[in-house]
């Protein structure tokens, strides 16, 4: 986890989360395939967070606090609240959960991640306002903390979610 006020690019590696209240900060998760990124932004407090989840369930550890959705989601949400975010007014968006490989478990893991995210949020009374989930292409996501814009970059295109 990286916690900083510096106006810079903060990268959420696989199983990691980044948070900031700096208006210049850009939070990024590179090269999502089956993984799923959850972007949360509080428009009033201008606090944002980006978590790069790997799998729907499992036991978290210190080096990868958001490796699993079921055990990592609360860690992420509590960290946002500690920065002043009020979850009920936050904008929540998710991207990733693609099926990159048609052999093996690639397809199932992406789908399970998407389902796991939606059900875990619903259990906490939260819901996604926009998604870019599934398909078979990779995505890089970037959340601007100052304006809440979430950009989705694919192989040869960039779009705002």
């Amino acid at each position: 986890m990286t916690l900083t006020q510096s106006p810079s690019l903060l990268v959420a590696g696989i199983g990691e989360m980044v948070l900031s209240s700096s208006p210049e900060a850009q939070l990024v998760a590179y090269g999502l395939g089956s993984c799923i990124a959850l972007a949360v932004w509080d428009p009033k407090m201008k606090v944002g967070g980006l978590a790069h989840f790997m799998l729907p369930n499992g036991q978290a550890n210190g080096s990868s606090p958001v490796k699993f959705i079921d055990t990592g989601l609360d860690t992420f949400l509590r960290a946002l609240e500690a920065r002043g975010a009020l979850l009920n007014r936050c904008v929540l968006k998710a991207a990733g959960a693609a099926a990159m490989l048609t052999v093996g478990e690639g397809l199932a893991i992406g789908k399970r991640n998407a389902e796991g995210m939606e059900s875990a949020l619903a259990e906490r009374g939260l819901q996604l306002t926009a998604t870019a989930l599934g398909g078979n292409s990779g995505r890089t996501v970037q959340l601007g903390v100052g304006d809440g814009r979430l950009l989705i970059k694919r192989l040869s295109s960039v779009a705002e979610l």
Binding site: Y30, G31, L32, G33, M54, L101, L155
Partner: protein, 215 residues
């Protein structure tokens, strides 16, 4: 959780076997292309998920990847990853070997993302032959056959290609054993990365078959 511990002597045995298997892989690619393609001595080490992504050039590096799953007494994943420019160059070398230089079709586009069917087919077959040669060498030490899945070619960000594989391996592990090598042809490096990622339950089988346990 932790990886199966190996003594220094055990690691030498495993590295030696992987080195021979990588050499076989290079010979298979040379045979297919008609050019001498050399394989660097592989680096074998335990890696975190982030380190595996770094080996592949970083999560956002655009790559052409050939994926072959490994099933049988040794199970896991293997991938050949090439930066796109290197993939085009390797495809031209392979096609020149298969078709002859005068019969190479003109490329329809200079777009580095654009691969025509011939290129994709050649690269898929190169990946298949290379990875199978590697598995055959390893299989000689095992008492049961090792089965590769049909190859799949993907052009994508390295992170997106690898994360499905990493999710499978890291569901109950924090580190995996990764073997990496690079290729060269005519003195010029083809910046390819060959990753072999055995599943955790396969490691004792593999290490026992190689005689690496108890050294």
């Amino acid at each position: 959780m932790t990886m199966l511990a190996l003594s220094d002597a055990g690691q030498v045995v495993v590295a030696g076997t992987f080195s021979r298997a990588m050499k076989r892989a290079g010979e298979a690619m040379s045979s297919m292309s008609g050019q001498i393609i050399e394989v660097q001595t592989p680096i074998l080490r335990r890696c975190t998920a982030a380190e595996v992504l770094a080996i592949a050039g970083g999560p956002e590096e655009l790559v052409l990847a050939v994926y072959v799953g490994i099933k049988g007494s040794l199970s896991g994943h293997s991938l050949l990853l090439f930066p796109l420019a290197d993939a085009h160059r390797l495809a031209q070398i392979l096609l020149a070997g298969l078709l002859g230089p005068g019969e190479l079709p003109m490329k329809a586009s200079d777009d580095v993302l654009a691969f025509d069917e011939l290129e994709l087919s050649a690269l898929q077959e190169a990946g298949n032959v290379t990875i199978s040669a590697f598995l055959n060498e390893l299989g000689m030490h095992l008492h049961e056959p090792v089965h590769p899945t049909p190859p799949q070619v993907v052009i994508e960000m390295a992170g997106a290609v690898l994360d499905a594989v990493l999710l499978d391996l890291f569901s109950d592990l924090d580190q995996v054993l990764a073997a990496k090598t690079t290729f060269s042809e005519g003195g010029r490096a083809i910046d390819g990365t060959f990753l072999v990622l055995p599943r955790a339950e396969s490691l004792p089988v593999l290490l026992d078959a190689l005689g690496a346990i108890g050294l």
